[in-house]
Symmetry: C2
Subunit: 303 residues, 2 copies
């Protein structure tokens, strides 16, 4: 029994195209319809053969759907919802993969007042973008957070849970507000800081860009990966999860200031204590299968 | 022709043990003598068979050496230099692998006034520590910075360059002061920020540690790797490269404040412009072979 027989994906970037591939692989028999506002993406999806059908409009894409997943930047959700409103079947479930949930739910509910909406967020990705970058196993072992309006495990939530589990993900329910705070910590502020460090390094007068790149293996290169993520997607995340991002950023700034002071005053114990504590978190990440256990993420070294 | 026939390595952690393995592989015929202040590390080195000889004291280790490489935390350099002063052959070259160069040179010169000292820093590593973690190819394609006192390509510098090139590294000469600024940007401040983000995340009341770990694939997990690096080594780096670290940290804080303001005021263009600019730096890192070109550092995804 398929959780959904007719799945429509709108927005075929890294996440949307990975869902399409995952459905083909894990839910044979399900029909995947794709639509992307960019005609060249539609052509690529057609050429890749990762959808059964590529529609010419968002409305045409959803007309037969029993699940519609919006995989566009969070700032574009409202417009897409307006585009599908007229053609959306009454019994279809509408979900999304956006990184901020309170803002997305408000946008979708505003445009689709009568629809069954279960916002979602698979916490997975790479720094690459576009339909060529997706792959079927992207969600294996990752968590997908669902933020249903009433917080309850209703029938559509149960079906959507089964859908994500079929793609290899584990599913957790959460309020949109709590989601937005948790993701500010585990994703949004880390991205902002990575972008910022890479920006600061490339703007220095005393150190050339060539030097920054050459000696990046000292740690900097890790930040450049995250800072290569899609600019539109991330701009929208920060504009749509403003409060939580600013709150966590404020906390981080206080903690950095404390470390700055410890360095200035030669307080090695404060540094050592923190550096010891943080190792335990890494062990937790590895133990719970949320990162590659191999040294250096499994990067190739020589040979 | 071997650049050095008798190599002594003091401190057999990740870097020291990688050098030992690298010499065995790339310079057969060279004799490697090892010494570590920790008897259990000496036992491990003996059991691993990565050195020809494991000495019982620092002095005994250097008595026949023509190259001595100190691979201890930068805060321990002065004490080790004192330990070897009496037994160091007059024609031996003394080098190190410390992450700060001005402080290390001062420490070595103070304890070894007549010695030939060529400080060095191979910009390579993983988050793992100890003699079991090293491997012969760690320096392949990475850069090793040498900071000779007069900045000149003298005979000992030429030999040390040949040594590092035999280990697979590329070599660059630099002043200690410039090294310390470059590394503050490309290594020290990124590490400090990573430690700090992981610390901040694990201290929040509103978000549990379990949640931070579960949803770490959103970006946070990248920071946990760096924040699992050796606490002693990194405490010493910050205490010994104070000025440059504080200077770069100040620059970063200004830039983060600017982004904070952009988020607060909804200035998407400022965010989008930065996020686009930083992608170019990532391309440079990949193009110049300083990171794995595969998505997500080549991490395993499912399967």
């Amino acid at each position: 029994m398929l959780p959904f027989a007719r799945v429509t994906i709108i927005g075929l970037g890294l996440i949307g195209s990975s869902i399409a591939r995952g459905v083909k692989k894990a839910m044979p028999g399900a029909v995947v319809t794709a639509y992307d506002a960019d005609p060249s993406v539609r052509d690529t999806v057609h050429a890749l053969g990762i959808a059964d059908d590529v529609a010419d409009s968002a409305g045409a894409a959803v007309v037969d759907a029993d699940l519609v997943i919006l995989c566009v930047p969070v700032g574009a959700m409202a417009a897409v919802a307006v585009e599908i409103a007229e053609d959306l079947p009454a019994d279809a479930v509408v979900s999304d993969v956006g990184s901020s949930k309170a803002s997305v739910f408000a946008a979708l509910r505003g445009a689709l007042p009568g629809a069954t909406i279960v916002p979602g967020h698979p916490v997975a990705g790479t720094e690459h973008s576009g339909p060529e970058s997706g792959f079927a196993t992207l969600f294996q072992g990752r968590w997908c957070i669902l933020t249903p309006e009433d917080g309850a495990e209703s029938a559509p939530v149960i079906r959507l849970r089964a859908f994500w589990e079929a793609l290899g993900a584990q599913v957790e329910l959460m309020s949109p507000k709590h989601h937005d705070l948790v993701l500010a910590v585990t994703s949004h502020v880390p991205h902002l800081i990575a972008y910022s460090i890479v920006g600061t390094a490339s703007d220095l007068e005393e150190v050339t860009r060539g030097e920054v790149i050459k000696y990046s293996a000292g740690g900097f290169r890790d930040f450049t990966r995250i800072a290569a993520s899609d600019p539109t997607m991330w701009r929208d995340v920060f504009l749509n999860n403003r409060e939580a991002v600013l709150e966590i950023l404020q906390r981080l700034t206080e903690d950095v200031t404390m470390l700055q002071r410890a360095i200035r005053w030669g307080d090695g114990d404060t540094l050592f204590d923190l550096f010891t504590r943080t190792r335990a978190i890494r062990r937790g990440v590895i133990d719970q299968g949320q990162d590659d256990a191999r040294p250096d993420f499994g990067r190739a070294h020589g040979e």
